[in-house]
């Protein structure tokens, strides 16, 4: 009989007053990332849709620079099929914080023929061109995104600082190795860096942090009655964007959203969670990932996200 220890170690527990809870670790890391960008870049921008990850980003960025105001602009790519309550939340937030918001409209591109509506009506993939144009027109050099590595397996390989060429393209085989917490933001004129401060957060971490900090979200993250119809195994919201087709039956259900994006491809889940604590309990018991449950665009193929990212998507 023997134990596995080859060396008896001096390993002992740290004094409790010098240890951090894992949410404190994640917060400290994110704050560090925001400050690095503010220190190294000329024109950073936060992608802000009103979705929970972008709301948490803005909350963290405010904490990073208090008592000074937020040193970043916000950017939203509006697909034209966004949830009205989310747009309202977005505008209220911008008003409250007194920050500058740039909105790029997919609809403008469709109206003047630069982009064409897809047969399936999904507008998520159409966001890439307006995003890249907005980055170029405003000469943004660092673009914060709320992407998390736990979301999707191509994202699991993403860096915190992700260099993009002048076409916005992500080349997974030519990524800079990211060592310690020494983020290298060097880039040539015309290139920009996508920055992901929530890289190491999971969906559950985001919700626990929302609970801990008392962060307000758009109402549709909590259970509510809504007219929905089934498509591809998801509950889509009936609305002006084009759904439902005549064959799709509309019914009223109690649902909430795990992600908010384009109405044409973002599904709701059945839920009775009317507050943050309820959402956390539901999530802990969920058998589906956030994107698997609610995003039609990620189900298209095994490499759907990788392909969109290579073209310059978030």
């Amino acid at each position: 009989m023997r134990a596995a220890h080859m060396t008896t170690t001096a390993a002992r527990a740290l004094p409790a007053h010098y240890t951090l809870d894992h949410l404190d670790h994640l917060e400290s890391e994110a704050v560090h990332i925001f400050r690095e960008v503010a220190g190294e870049f000329e024109r950073p921008v936060i992608l802000f849709s009103g979705g929970k990850d972008s709301v948490v980003m803005v909350h963290l960025a405010l904490k990073a620079f208090a008592p000074a105001p937020l040193p970043f602009t916000l950017l939203h790519v509006d697909t034209g099929h966004n949830f009205p309550e989310v747009l309202r939340y977005r505008d209220e937030t911008v008003e409250r914080l007194g920050v500058r918001l740039v909105v790029a409209h997919v609809q403008d591109y469709i109206d003047d023929g630069r982009l064409r509506e897809r047969a399936d009506g999904t507008r998520n993939p159409l966001q890439t061109v307006p995003l890249l144009d907005a980055i170029e027109a405003n000469r943004f050099d660092a673009v914060f995104g709320g992407g998390r590595r736990d979301e999707e397996k191509a994202r699991a390989k993403e860096r915190v600082f992700s260099l993009r060429d002048s076409f916005g393209a992500w080349d997974p085989r030519r990524q800079r190795p990211e060592l310690w917490d020494l983020y290298n933001g060097k880039h040539a004129p015309g290139e920009h860096v996508r920055v992901f401060p929530l890289s190491n957060w999971t969906e559950l971490d985001v919700w626990r942090y929302i609970e801990r900090e008392g962060i307000e979200l758009p109402d549709l993250y909590y259970a509510h009655e809504r007219e929905v119809f089934a498509r591809d195994g998801m509950w889509l919201s009936a609305g002006e964007w084009g759904g439902p087709k005549p064959s799709e039956e509309v019914q009223t259900r109690q649902v909430r959203y795990r992600t908010v994006g384009d109405m044409s491809c973002t599904g709701a889940v059945d839920s009775s969670a009317t507050d943050v604590a309820g959402v956390i309990v539901e999530l802990a018991g969920s058998r589906l990932t956030e994107r698997g449950a609610t995003r039609a665009d990620d189900r298209m193929s095994e490499a759907a996200m990788e392909d969109r990212k290579k073209q310059g998507y978030f």
């Binding site: 001096a10 010098y18 890391e29 060097k186």
Partner: protein, 478 residues
Amino acid sequence: MTTTQTSTTQTSTSPAITTSAITTPDSEAPVSAPTAIADPTGTGTWPTRRHDLLRLATAGSVDDGKSTLVGRLLYDTKSVLADQLDAVERVSRERGLDAADLALLTDGLRAEREQGITIDVAYRYFSTATRSYVLADTPGHVQYTRNMVTGASTAELALILIDARHGVVEQTRRHLAVTGLLGVRHIAVAVNKMDLVDWDQDRFDAIVAEFAHHASRFGIEDVVAVPVSALFGDNVVDRSDRAPWYIGPTLLEHLEAVPVGTDPSAQPLRVPVQYVIRPQRGESRDYRGYAGRLASGVVRPGDEVVVLPAGSRSRIAGIDRSGPDGRLEQLDVAFAPQSVVLRLTDDVDVSRGDLIAAADEPGLVTRSLSGTVAVVDDRPLRRRDRVLLRVGTRTVRAIVDDVVDQLDIETMEQRAAPDGLALNAIGRVRIRLAEDVAIDDYRSLRRTGAFLLIDENDGSTLAAGMADAPDRSVGEGI
């Protein structure tokens, strides 16, 4: 143990990961019971105790079952969800496999799936009632050193796999070399495929003894070895009854128990200044604070500090942090790795790139340094190269004065490097700097002893560096 017992073992016990176990509709067993990730109180009020974070990096050789082990850790901690398993199961079936290939959970890129290899470091997340884990999964072959250095740079624990049939191989010694060089303090050794050596205790002991012999050369503080079968799940999360002679922890039990972090009070204060906060408006018109994340140490109001490289002395007037409602909170104490804002009692010149350090233990300010580098770019590092050096938040121009030698990772000997250091090479360099920088001995203070060498022209990260102690002369062993 005899061969007969082994075959009995293998036929009488179904591996937990089988196609049927995964795809049974509404099967509660494999994926739904979320005990490990759920709120242990069942009330949604979690956490009721401090839930900490462990960062670890895996290291394995080709075909030693690393992806299976990582898949097993995710699976047995209920961190893999039904749609992910469905996808893995579907692809496994399309490829004609009878069991789900858990490696598919971790290979995220199209090229990886097409070529059946792992190209890049991938990050995985799992969580138990005790801890959250950030796992850097590093590929075993392609760009080996570059990826392992990347994964190990932020890890507190390295999980090294050894195939029980092959024992300690050349790759294992490389893993140890990188782990030791990067200053990873804890190693967990998973001696895998024990089922294929009849759970032979002598075999395990021999491997452990050989590993210990090599580990001692690299000054690793803490090594724990566990006999496992990742395929069958023995001793990964759940205890196995196939090795009654083994009384140590399962792999997960060990990960749950290993102490995380370094006691901040045992190290001197280091805060690289990231940003100067000057609102210049309203009631905070005169506010001036220095934002940074403590790289090491503890700080309290009243502490005497020195601002490097200038050397100006001052005291901490206050430590601020924003509360959830945006109001400033003043802290009585802050410690690594917290992000805070420091105010000083004197009006000294402080800007991004400076280091606020403990006045009684300030570290070295220098214009030349020696250290060990791992080259992570296609461009080789040669004598006379002009580069940028980044340490903490400071970036200065630098010249590679000398490439002293290269570590031969096969023999662990140093040899001359007349042609410089190519991608994946590890060697020692002497560097001259255009300006003063404050830098520490990497082996004492990891965060402020680490540096990057950056290409001046295209901004690529060329090498990961670890500075020597200031008084170390060139010519000693690594």
